[in-house]
């Protein structure tokens, strides 16, 4: 399956006059843009998601149908 092409996002830039943000909000965004992104799912996350969200429901449905 081909890897999906991401829609490009703009490079983070300093706020312009029209883009005024409250100072505290701007500070938070600045921190998050540089090193605050907590990251995405890892392989263990996907394992648990598939186990609890797909495998377990499928097994329950099969069991329940014949119960």
């Amino acid at each position: 399956m081909p890897k999906p092409t991401p829609m490009p996002e703009p490079r983070p830039s300093l706020p312009r006059a029209a883009d005024y943000l409250a100072p505290e909000l701007a500070r938070r965004i600045e921190i998050l843009e540089h090193d605050g992104d907590a990251g995405d799912f890892d392989s263990a996350s996907w394992f648990w998601l598939v186990l609890f969200g797909v495998v377990t429901p499928a097994a329950l449905l099969l069991w329940g149908w014949w119960a």
Partner: protein, 472 residues
């Protein structure tokens, strides 16, 4: 455990939380989610499944449906909310635009106000019945007279609790979490004492089509838990990352809801009522009835606190409410619930079916759009500055702040749901009996969103294709 690093300003705003402020570990998150999930609606969810399925099939279908629904709601809002510490409504800005997010916000508001009105009215009824059972009611007064006053008192307590923001949610969760095991004890009581009847009990509204009944049980589970989309974002923004939230969300919420729904399922099948306050009296006598009434009151109270908090944080995204004090915002959030509970509690109960129908139709397409946007179109890249930017050239500005691709996809997803299932009458058509209605609605919205975005171009859809992406 306290929210040491969380400033009061961030705690009560829709601003993103910084990593140092997100200190809810897996256990605390699981307890908070389970406490929030365990409420009266579980009995109603179980009751609806019990109209079509016996106990074993109902348990399997409901649990499977709930876990599928939670998976979709979590994958829709979870990654963005947990990565940047934002709430579910803010996470819709990349899809709907910096003005179009008002549509998901309205859906959230209606959902939370509806659920919390139900919970507080139900809790008030239980409290009134408890007072009657204890003989503490003045002569001539009944539950009907007490419900408005009890609802207003509950609203006042919630208001005072939430003045401390998420800290209030944490403290209440830690205390009220004890009611979850009590719920399981009630289930054990019914199953152990009435097992022969329960095993043989047949649903009263079952269709001759066994597959249709089974699919409807799954659909009820999916619909109910997908409407937890607002709560998921509000809670997991407190977790340090999305990885910490996976198991707590899938088990704390995805498993506790169906397990407690079995109380309603078993009750409606054996005793023809899903309310444990009623059936525990016949199973265990007045002492058990009092325990059940306390349980119902406490369970609803914990969930309503989380709901009001989630709703208030969602309202913060409105520019007009960005700067109002937290106490004023809380009043604005609680007021509709208090008015419904005080003025039209019986009418609201009578119209509850229409409310459930709205949830099913609205949230499945929304989840489909968010999943398609995050995992397919944006390949997991989100611009946190663009979410809050008011710059007319901001990436998520789209067309006048509204993304037409998302609106069209939402409408088509809703249409797909209604084509497959009328949620008011439960008359179905097409492949509903094989696919449910929520899953095709989510898939339709997702596919339409991707196609429309490609058709209209990334600029319209809210991403500037002409600009290269910066380094990670």
């Amino acid at each position: 455990m306290g929210l040491v690093g969380l400033s009061a300003e961030a705690d009560t705003s829709a601003w993103p939380l910084l990593p140092a402020e997100r200190d809810w570990g897996a256990w605390r998150l699981a307890i908070a989610l389970a406490t929030a999930a365990a409420a009266t609606w579980c009995y109603i969810i179980g009751e609806y499944a019990g109209y079509y399925l016996n106990f074993a099939q109902g348990a399997a279908a409901l649990t499977a449906g709930c876990m599928i629904g939670i998976l979709l709601a979590f994958m829709a809002a979870g990654p963005t909310c947990a990565r940047f510490g934002i709430d579910s409504v803010a996470s819709t800005k990349p899809q709907f635009g910096v003005r179009g997010w008002i549509i998901p916000a309205a859906m959230q508001l209606i959902s939370i106000v509806g659920w919390n009105s139900l919970l507080l009215i139900f809790g008030a009824k239980s409290a009134a019945q408890l007072l009657l059972a204890l003989g503490a009611m003045p002569a001539g007064y009944g539950a009907r007279e007490l419900v408005p006053a009890a609802t207003l008192i509950a609203c006042a307590i919630i208001y005072l609790t939430l003045l401390r923001g998420a800290t209030g949610v944490t403290k209440v969760s830690n205390v009220l979490a004890a009611h979850v095991p009590i719920g399981f004890w009630m289930l054990y009581l019914l199953v152990s004492r009435r097992w022969p009847e329960l095993r043989l009990a047949q649903p009263v509204m079952a269709s001759p089509d066994r597959l249709w009944n089974y699919t409807t049980g799954v659909e009820i589970g999916i619909t109910s838990t997908m409407s937890w989309w607002p709560y998921i974002g509000a809670m997991i923004r407190m977790a340090p990352n999305v990885r910490t939230a996976v198991v707590p969300v899938m088990l704390g919420m995805g498993a506790s809801i169906p397990l407690l729904s079995l109380i309603g399922l078993a009750g409606i099948l054996v005793l023809k009522t899903s309310d444990p306050a009623e059936w525990l009296r016949s199973v265990g006598g007045p002492t058990y009835a009092v325990i059940a009434l306390i349980f119902v009151s406490v369970a609803n109270f914990g969930t309503a606190i989380t709901g009001i908090y989630s709703s208030a944080i969602g309202l913060r995204n409105f520019a007009a409410l960005e700067r109002v004090s937290w106490s004023t915002l809380l009043l604005i959030t609680i007021a509709p619930v208090a008015l419904v509970g005080a003025l039209i509690p019986e009418l609201f109960f009578a119209r509850f079916g229409a409310f459930l129908a709205f949830l099913g139709v609205a949230f499945a397409p929304l989840c489909g759009i968010q999943i398609a946007d995050y995992f397919v179109l944006r390949a997991r890249h989100v611009d946190i500055r663009a979410i809050y930017s008011r710059d007319p050239a901001a990436p998520y500005r789209s067309v006048g702040g509204v993304n037409p691709a998302a609106l069209l996809a939402l409408a088509l997803g809703c249409a797909a749901y209604l084509k497959l299932l009328n949620p008011l009458t439960y008359t179905s058509s097409g492949p509903y009996r094989f696919l449910t209605a929520s899953l095709p609605a989510a898939a339709t919205a997702a596919v339409c969103y991707i196609l429309l975005t490609r058709l209209l171009g990334g600029r319209v859809a809210g991403a500037r294709l002409r600009q290269p992406r910066g380094p990670e």
